[in-house]
Every structure is written in structure tokens, then in C-alpha cells.
């Protein structure tokens, strides 16, 4: 029993199909022979088994030729042409070899004996052509399907790899401009206000540490993200001084909600970069977190205006959209709009998570 199963498993799909196919050939012919026979055919079974045997050999040679010449790697149109040509060629070979062997073994019925070898071969070729064509169609179709499925699989695998890489770089993205500006401010503070300078160094290290850790996290509780943003804004306040005003409107129940790490930070950074830093008199940044129905809504508003040439697909915003899509599919949305003349509003809605 064991050896039998072992054998089955070791037989390739190709040989299974060959054996299965030609057995079917024999069974179907026997069936018609038994039910629809109109005249005596003394050598029927011998010829039938001989043909099936030769069929296996001829098609196996054909398969080797196809593989050797690499037809399967050609474009589809060329493949079709080559299928026909090989089928025609091998049907002659098939017909000739079967007629030859039949003659040799003297299986030929009396009525056919009068025909010449060529005549018999040509007659038989028609039938052979049909069988080989079916054989080839199955062979090529099978390989075509396998190949395209493999291609699709590779494509999906590549896409997910790209996504993963993208996500990694997005997460670790802290604007270097911000880091160096912060360091510059801190250096000036060392003389002016040493206490504040020490505090600023702590804030900066918190942000750097968080952005490094973010690479490992899928999601982070809002509270953690909010703390990063608070440190970030405290540092930006050193730079912008009175030009930067911050307001928070946070529903405490949302503090435990999971959010994509560094996403809020990216939005706030954008609000500073495209809003406050462009305004001579500065402005306000307002961060809101609340529930609306079954959704958790995060809003970042800033003074300023998006103008025509501002690209909403810029790195930060584009990545925010992507990350939300990757995490929540189409259940999450991200919108950024001008509100009135001097306010920009970025809204993220995510499905609220029930925390027990």
C-alpha cells in the first residue's frame, strides 16, 4: 500500500495526463466498437492498443521538441502558429509509424491492403491530426494558465513588498529640516535659557525615539501620538515663538483608540510647513479628536490657504492616504480642504475600535 501511494506521488502530472488521456482514448474507442460496430474488424484491439502506445511515444517526442525549442516562452500569437505546425508535422509521423508497424505485424485488414503506403499514411494523418491537436491544446493551455497565474502571483508579491518598503520609509520620516532647525534653536537657547534648552533636548530625543519605534508598530494609541505631537509643537514653538498658537480639543475617550503611528505627526508637520511657516504673522494650529457615530475622527486645522500649485499628493499627504488604505481599506477616509479664506482643514476618519 505504501509503495503504491509513493509511486503515485512520484509520477508527474505530465505522465498522469498521458496515461489518463490515452486510456480514455482506448475506452471511448472500445465503447463505440462494442455499441456501433457495423463490420468485422479482426485486429481492432491490437491496432487500438498499438495506436495508443505509439501515441504516447510520438506525443512524448513532440513534448521534448516543444520544450527544446522553447515554444512555451514565445508570445501567444506565435505559440498558436507553432502549435499548428508541430501538430501537422507530428500527425504525419504518428500516421506513418502506426501504418508501418501495423504492416510489419500484419494487422492490416484485407480491404486496406490494396492501398500504397503513402495513401494509407495520408488517410490516417487526418485522424492523427485531430488527436494531436487536442493533445497540444491541452498541453499549451495548461502551461498558459500556469504561467499567467505565476505572473499574477509574482505581481502581487512585488506589490506587497513595495507597500511594505514604502510603509517603512514613511514611518521613519521625520523632516531633517525640522531636526536641524531644532538643533540650531537649542544651541542658541543654551546661553539664553539653559533650563528650556535642557527641556528641548528631552523633547527632541522623545520625537526621534518615537519615530524610530514607529517602524516596528502597526498601530499606536492616540495618547502616545498626541504626546509626540506635543513635544514636536513645543520645539516648533521655540522657533516660531508668538507666530505659533496651538489649540487642542480632545475627547478623552478617544485617547485609547489605535491610530497609524506618526500619522498625526505628519499632518501637524504639514500644517506647520505649508501653513504657519509661510505666514509672516503666523497663525493657529488646532487638533481635534472625537467620535462621530461609529467613526473616530481626527482633525488638524491650520491658518493659511492651499493654493493651486500646492500638490495634495505631496509625500506627507499621499502617504497618509496610502497608509489609511492599507490599514482600513475603504472604511477610512482622508480629506484636506480650504475652509473659508484662511483656514486649511485635514480630516481623517477611521472605524472606531471597541476597547474592552
Amino acid at each position: 500500500m505504501f509503495t503504491f501511494r509513493f509511486m503515485i506521488r512520484n509520477i508527474s502530472k505530465y505522465w498522469l495526463c498521458q496515461i489518463g488521456g490515452w486510456s480514455t482514448y482506448i475506452i471511448v474507442y472500445t465503447f463505440f466498437f462494442l455499441t456501433l460496430r457495423t463490420q468485422e474488424q479482426p485486429y481492432f484491439y491490437k491496432v487500438l492498443f498499438l495506436d495508443a502506445f505509439l501515441g504516447v511515444i510520438v506525443t512524448h517526442i513532440m513534448r521534448n521538441v516543444i520544450r527544446k525549442l522553447g515554444f512555451l516562452r514565445l508570445p501567444l500569437e506565435q505559440q498558436i502558429v507553432y502549435i499548428f505546425l508541430t501538430t501537422i508535422g507530428f500527425s504525419f509521423l504518428f500516421a506513418f509509424s502506426s501504418i508501418f508497424v501495423e504492416d510489419f505485424l500484419n494487422f492490416t485488414s484485407e480491404q486496406f491492403k490494396q492501398y500504397t503506403m503513402i495513401n494509407k499514411t495520408m488517410r490516417a494523418s487526418f485522424g492523427c491530426f485531430l488527436f494531436l491537436l487536442i493533445w497540444n491544446l491541452i498541453y499549451f493551455t495548461y502551461h498558459y494558465v500556469v504561467k499567467s497565474r505565476q505572473e499574477q502571483l509574482d505581481k502581487i508579491r512585488l506589490q506587497s513588498l513595495v507597500k511594505e518598503l514604502e510603509l517603512k520609509t514613511i514611518k521613519s520620516h521625520i523632516n531633517p529640516h525640522f531636526i536641524f532647525n531644532a538643533l540650531n534653536s537649542i544651541r542658541a537657547l543654551v546661553d539664553e535659557n539653559p533650563e528650556r534648552a535642557r527641556q528641548a533636548i528631552t523633547e527632541l530625543s522623545n520625537i526621534l525615539r518615537s519615530s524610530m519605534q514607529a517602524e516596528k508598530l502597526e498601530t499606536a494609541p492616540l495618547e502616545r501620538e498626541l504626546n509626540i505631537v506635543k513635544d514636536y509643537l513645543a520645539l516648533e514653538y521655540i522657533r516660531f515663538e508668538d507666530r505659533l498658537n496651538v489649540e487642542y480639543d480632545i475627547d478623552e475617550d478617544t485617547l485609547n483608540q489605535p491610530v497609524p503611528p506618526m500619522m498625526l505627526q505628519t499632518l501637524v508637520e504639514n500644517a506647520i510647513k505649508h501653513g504657519i511657516s509661510k505666514l509672516v504673522n503666523g497663525g493657529i494650529i488646532k487638533i481635534t479628536s472625537d467620535f462621530t457615530q461609529d467613526f473616530h475622527e481626527l482633525i488638524v486645522e491650520n491658518t493659511g490657504r492651499m493654493n493651486g500649485d500646492f500638490n495634495p499628493d505631496g509625500f506627507g499627504l499621499h502617504s497618509t492616504k496610502n497608509r489609511l488604505m492599507l490599514m482600513y481599506g475603504d472604511k477610512a477616509t482622508f480629506k484636506i480642504t480650504n475652509e473659508g479664506n484662511d483656514r486649511v482643514k485635514a480630516v481623517v476618519t477611521m472605524p472606531a475600535t471597541i476597547i474592552l
Binding site: L183, N184, S185
Partner: protein, 247 residues
């Protein structure tokens, strides 16, 4: 030898830090500072400094915008934190820049380079400022020219020709001819007429770049410049041109 200097940066702390660093350099005399490009423009027009330290990213206008609006560009040392756009502009156009936080050694090199450049040329910081009482530009003054991504500091004596194109003027120097947002009339007022001559309605030429002079229709002249440009001198201006040349 004191170099009149203005520091332009939108961050108070950054300006303070730079002031502190510049205390080491006795020749640098910080006469004023500005917190944005507009304020910077006004202070430059008012004080006519020899040198400015200029941040690129500022609210309103950028540092490049500021320079493009100046008639005469002082010596400039750009300062920036890491800013990819600005860094690219610096590399492409070979401009001198300092990265914040500024390394004292790099600062000292930049200042030394300025005075080395000045020694090589005939004028120095101090006597340069002597000429700057009036608003007339001398041959050694430089202008900042920006054309899309590219920008240059150009000495006036390198400029062959200004050509009027609507409200703009096309500036010809070396193999470049970018546009600047200044009318020909405004330029003419500022240029030294001993060197720059209004040949006709559309052109101001640098007399030192004339290669050939030929008579032309109606008693006018045709000038060929060393760059190959051919400029017609109108009849009215021909009289003036001949007068100047005969002196």
C-alpha cells in the same frame, strides 16, 4: 575695515546664534537684522550693507525672491537648515552656503573667502561702501539673476547687453540670457552712463564689449558686440554716442 552686515532669518534664536558666532570676527559689523524677506528688502535699501547672511525658507518670500528684487546684490552668505530644494539650488549654481547649526570653522572659511575675493579685485569692502552713497551701480557691483531653477550673481562688467522684453529685461552674459523683472528705463536710471549706453528703445549695451562699429541707414550706427549680437543705434542716440566716443 569694517563690513556692514545684515542678518536675515525668520527665527529670533537663529539670528541670536549667528550674532554670537560673528562676535569672533572683528571686521564684521552687524548693523541690523530682519525677520522676513520684506523687512530684509527695506533694510538693505536703507543701509546698503556690504554683506548679508540670508536664510532661504522664510514666511512670505524666500531668500531667493528677496535677492531677485534687489537692484544691487550685496555679498551673500546663505544659511539654511537641511532643505533639499535650497541645497540643490546651491549645488547647481555654485553658491556659498552654511548649514545650520553653523560650524564656526565653516563660518570663518566663508568670511575669509569673501575678503580674499575682495583683495584680488581692485575694490575692498570699505572703499566699496564709499561709492554707495548714491544709488548708481558701478561696474564691480553684482546683481542677482534668477531664471527658473538657475540663478547667478553677475558682475555688471560681465554683462554685454540688456534687452527689453515687455516688463522684463533680458540680461546677456557669457552664454546665458535670463530674464529679470525690471524695466529698461528703471535699469538705465541705475546704471553708470559712462559704461552702459542706451542704444535704442529696446537695448542698453556695455560699451566695453563693443567689437565693431559700422555706419547704418539714416545716419545711424550698427554695433557688433563681442558676443556676436548686432545692435542698431538710433539716429538720436548716434549723435550722443559719437560725442561720448570723441571725448
Amino acid at each position: 575695515m569694517s563690513v556692514k552686515t545684515i542678518v536675515i532669518d525668520d527665527e529670533r534664536l537663529a539670528r541670536n546664534e549667528l550674532r554670537k558666532l560673528l562676535q569672533e570676527f572683528k571686521e564684521i559689523d552687524i548693523i541690523d537684522e530682519a525677520a522676513n524677506a520684506q523687512e530684509g528688502l527695506e533694510k538693505i535699501e536703507q543701509h546698503q550693507p556690504d554683506l548679508i547672511f540670508l536664510d532661504i525658507q522664510m514666511p512670505g518670500k524666500t531668500g531667493f525672491d528677496l535677492l531677485a528684487e534687489l537692484v544691487r546684490a550685496p555679498r551673500v552668505i546663505f544659511t539654511t537648515a537641511y532643505d533639499e530644494y535650497a541645497l540643490k539650488a546651491f549645488e547647481v549654481n555654485a553658491l556659498d552656503y552654511l548649514l545650520k547649526p553653523i560650524e564656526p570653522k565653516r563660518l570663518s572659511e566663508a568670511i575669509q573667502k569673501l575678503s580674499a575675493d575682495d583683495n584680488r579685485e581692485t575694490y575692498g569692502f570699505s572703499n566699496g561702501s564709499g561709492d554707495r552713497q548714491g544709488s548708481l551701480l558701478t561696474e564691480n557691483d553684482q546683481v542677482f539673476v534668477k531664471d527658473g531653477e538657475r540663478c547667478w550673481f553677475v558682475k555688471l562688467n560681465e554683462i554685454r547687453l540688456f534687452e527689453s522684453v515687455g516688463n522684463y529685461a533680458k540680461v546677456f552674459f557669457a552664454a546665458n540670457k535670463p530674464l529679470i523683472l525690471k524695466s529698461l528705463n528703471a535699469l538705465e536710471e541705475r546704471l553708470d552712463e559712462k559704461v552702459f549706453f542706451r542704444a535704442n528703445r529696446k537695448h542698453i549695451i556695455n560699451l566695453r564689449w563693443i567689437e565693431k562699429i559700422e555706419p547704418y541707414f539714416n545716419g545711424g550706427l550698427l554695433l557688433e558686440l563681442k558676443g556676436g549680437e548686432k545692435i542698431e543705434v538710433s539716429r538720436r542716440q548716434t549723435v550722443k554716442f559719437k560725442e561720448m566716443m570723441s571725448l
